[in-house]
C-alpha cells in the first residue's frame, strides 16, 4: 500500500468510523460482555451485548485503541446486531480467517470487504481482527 492509498483509505473509511464510532458507549446493563485486549500494544475494549433469546439485539463497545481497531469494532457492532448467535459466530470466524489465511469471502457489507482487504497491511492485522477474534474466543469458550 502506498502512502496515498493509506491516506485515501483512512480518509474515506477509517477516520469517519473512528471519529463517529457506532454505539461507542459504556453501558451498565447488558446480557453479556466480552473483553478485547491486545497485550502487545495496549488496545483494550469492552463489548456489551444485549440479546433476545439467541438473537443479538444490540452491541455497544467502549475502551481505548487505534483508529483501525476502533473502526473495525464499530463495524462489528453494526454487523452483528440482529443476528442469531450462530450467524454472528460464523461471520466473525469468516472475517478472522479472511484476515489471517489465504481464504477470501465476499461479505454483504461493503465496508467489511474493504477492511478485509487490509490483510496485507502488515503489522496492523492484529488491530483489525481484535474485536472479531474476541467474539470467536468468547463463543468457543463459553457457549459450546
Amino acid at each position: 500500500m502506498t502512502k496515498d492509498d493509506l491516506q485515501k483509505l483512512y480518509k474515506s473509511k477509517i477516520l469517519p468510523e473512528n471519529e463517529h464510532p457506532y454505539h461507542f458507549q459504556e453501558i451498565k446493563s447488558f446480557d453479556f460482555q466480552i473483553e478485547a485486549y491486545n497485550p502487545m500494544c495496549g488496545d483494550k475494549y469492552w463489548l456489551f451485548f444485549e440479546q433476545h433469546g439467541n438473537q443479538i439485539s444490540n452491541v455497544f463497545f467502549h475502551g481505548f485503541g487505534c483508529a483501525l481497531s476502533k473502526a473495525s469494532l464499530s463495524l462489528l457492532c453494526k454487523s452483528l446486531e440482529g443476528m442469531p448467535h450462530k450467524d454472528a459466530i460464523e461471520l466473525s470466524r469468516q472475517f478472522v480467517q479472511c484476515l489471517t489465511t489465504d481464504l477470501n469471502f465476499e461479505f454483504k457489507k461493503e465496508s467489511l470487504n474493504t477492511l478485509a482487504e487490509l490483510k496485507h497491511f502488515e503489522g496492523r492485522v492484529d488491530c483489525i481482527k481484535l474485536g472479531w477474534e474476541a467474539v470467536c474466543n468468547h463463543f468457543e469458550n463459553y457457549e459450546n
Binding site: 497485550p39 502487545m40 495496549g42 488496545d43 485503541g65 483508529a67
Partner: protein, 412 residues
C-alpha cells in the same frame, strides 16, 4: 579476509559513522528511530562473526587440534575483553547468557531464590522493563514475600525518598534499570548503590539501554550484578552478559545441566565447575561471544564519551523540535534523559502514528514497550517512542517533525 575495521573508526569521525552501517547504504532514506529495540549492525561486527563461522569455526574447550584451540582462545579472550570493557581484570566475573532477560532470570534463580526466607523483600521500580520485573514478581509470589515497587514522580524520575524507605535489612536485592527504555530517564544508580550498600543489600543494574554510551565499570560503580544484551550494543542477537561481583561468585549456582560445566559425572553423582563456567552448559554461542566482544571493541574505538555526547545532542534537539508541535505531548520530563523519548499525538493512536510515519520511511515503536506497570501508573495505554543511536542525525529529527506535522494536519 580483511573485512574487519576496514575503515578506521575513531573519536574524530563519529559524524561519518553512519557509513559503517550497510543498511543505510542500501536504504538511504531509512530513518531508523528504534535503536532501543535493537541497534543496527556495523559491517565490522557482522564480519567478525561471519569470518569466524566461515574460516575459523570449531567447537571449544575439548579440542586438541589447531582450529579448536584457536576457537577456545578467541572465546576466552572475548571474556577478558568484556571484563576489561566493564572495568575488571578478572574475566571470571563475566558469564555469557542469551541476553538481558536470561541474565536477570539467572540471578533470580541461581543467586536469589536459594537465599529467600519469609519476611524478606525485593525492591524494584515501576519503570522496569518486564524482564526486570516479572522474575522478581514471580519469586515474591512463590515465596510469599514482598515486592516493593518504587514509584515515579510526575516527571518520570524515581521517587528516591520512597526507594530509601523501601530498602531495609530484609531486602535481598535491589533491581533497577540504568535508563528507562520508555521514558529515557537516567537513574542515579551510583546513589542507589550507595543507599543499598549502606544496608548491605546487593544491587542489580539493568544496563540494556546504557551499555553502549555510558561508562560502566564495576571498579567505580561497585554494583553486584550487571546485565545487558549484545543486540542493543551493535552486536548480535542471542548473546548477553551477566557480570557478577567477585564476592558473589561462589554463590552462583548453575542454571542448566550438560557438557562443559561439569567436573566429574558418574551414574550416581555429578560435580560442577565454578561460576562463570557452571553456566556454560552445552556448546556456547561461540560466534555470538565473538560478536559481542567485537561490539565492545567497536564501542571503545568510537569512545563512549563521544557517543553519549552525540546522543544527548540528538535528544535535546528532538525534545526542542517536538515541543514546537502543539498537538504533541512528551511523556515524561525527567531530570536527566538520554537517547529515548516517548510522546503522544492528540487523538491519534501511537499505532496509527507509526503506520503513517512508516510510509515516510520513519521507523519508530508504538505500544507499551514491555513496561505495562509504568504505563498503568502514568494512566497511559500506549506511547509512540523514538530512540537514537550513533548513526542518527538532526536531519532525521527534522524529517520526523515534518512527517508528524503532515499527519496531524491530515488527521484533523
Amino acid at each position: 579476509m580483511v573485512f574487519i575495521f576496514k575503515k578506521h573508526i575513531n573519536k574524530n569521525n563519529i559524524k561519518n559513522v553512519r557509513t559503517h552501517f550497510p543498511i543505510f547504504k542500501s536504504q538511504p532514506n531509512l530513518v531508523y528511530l528504534d535503536s532501543a529495540a535493537t541497534n543496527q549492525r556495523p559491517q565490522s561486527i557482522v564480519a567478525a562473526q561471519s569470518h569466524f563461522e566461515l574460516y575459523e569455526n570449531a567447537n571449544i574447550h575439548r579440542g586438541v587440534y589447531d582450529l579448536s584451540n584457536k576457537s577456545s582462545q578467541k572465546f576466552e579472550k572475548s571474556r577478558s575483553i568484556i571484563a576489561a570493557f566493564l572495568g575488571s581484570e578478572n574475566s571470571e566475573t563475566v558469564a555469557f547468557t542469551q541476553g538481558t532477560t536470561a541474565a536477570i532470570n539467572i540471578v533470580a534463580r541461581s543467586y536469589l531464590e536459594p537465599r529467600l526466607k519469609s519476611g524478606d523483600n525485593i525492591v524494584t521500580t515501576v519503570m522496569e522493563h518486564h524482564a526486570n520485573f516479572i522474575p522478581w514478581q514471580m519469586l515474591c509470589k512463590k515465596y510469599g514475600i514482598e515486592l516493593r515497587v518504587v514509584p515515579i514522580d510526575q516527571n518520570g524520575d524515581l521517587d528516591m525518598m520512597q526507594l530509601k524507605e523501601f530498602i531495609d535489612h530484609h531486602t535481598q536485592l535491589v533491581a533497577v534499570t540504568h535508563i528507562s527504555n520508555t521514558l529515557g530517564t537516567i537513574n542515579p544508580i551510583a546513589d542507589i548503590i550507595a543507599i543499598a550498600h549502606a544496608k548491605e543489600v546487593p544491587v542489580l543494574i539493568d544496563a540494556a539501554q546504557s551499555i553502549s554510551h555510558f561508562d560502566i565499570s564495576i571498579e567505580h560503580l561497585d554494583y553486584d550484578f550487571l546485565v545487558f544484551s549484545g543486540h542493543k550494543m551493535f552486536g548480535p542477537f542471542g548473546i548477553g552478559i551477566l557480570q557478577v561481583a567477585e564476592k558473589h561468585i561462589q554463590q552462583m549456582l548453575p542454571l542448566h545441566y550438560g557438557g562443559g560445566m561439569i567436573k566429574q559425572v558418574t551414574i550416581e553423582n555429578t560435580q560442577f565447575r565454578d561460576f562463570p563456567y557452571n553456566l556454560d552448559a552445552g556448546t556456547p554461542n561461540i560466534s555470538g561471544v565473538i560478536g559481542i566482544s567485537a561490539a565492545a571493541v567497536f564501542i571503545d574505538a568510537l569512545g563512549k564519551k563521544n557517543m553519549r555526547q552525540h546522543l544527548e545532542e540528538l535528544t535535546y534537539y528532538a525534545l526542542d523540535v517536538l515541543a514546537q508541535i502543539p498537538e504533541l505531548t512528551i511523556v515524561g520530563t525527567p531530570k536527566k534523559q538520554a537517547g529515548i523519548i516517548s510522546f503522544n499525538a492528540k487523538n491519534i493512536h501511537p499505532h496509527d502514528v507509526a503506520s503513517f510515519l512508516n510510509k515516510d520511511g520513519i521507523a519508530l515503536r508504538a505500544g507499551m514497550h514491555c513496561t505495562q506497570p509504568l504505563l498503568a501508573q502514568m494512566g497511559l495505554q500506549a506511547t509512540a517512542r523514538i530512540s537514537f543511536s550513533v548513526y542518527n542525525t538532526k536531519e532525521e529529527i527534522d524529517l520526523l517533525a515534518l512527517s508528524l506535522r503532515e499527519l496531524i494536519k491530515f488527521w484533523s
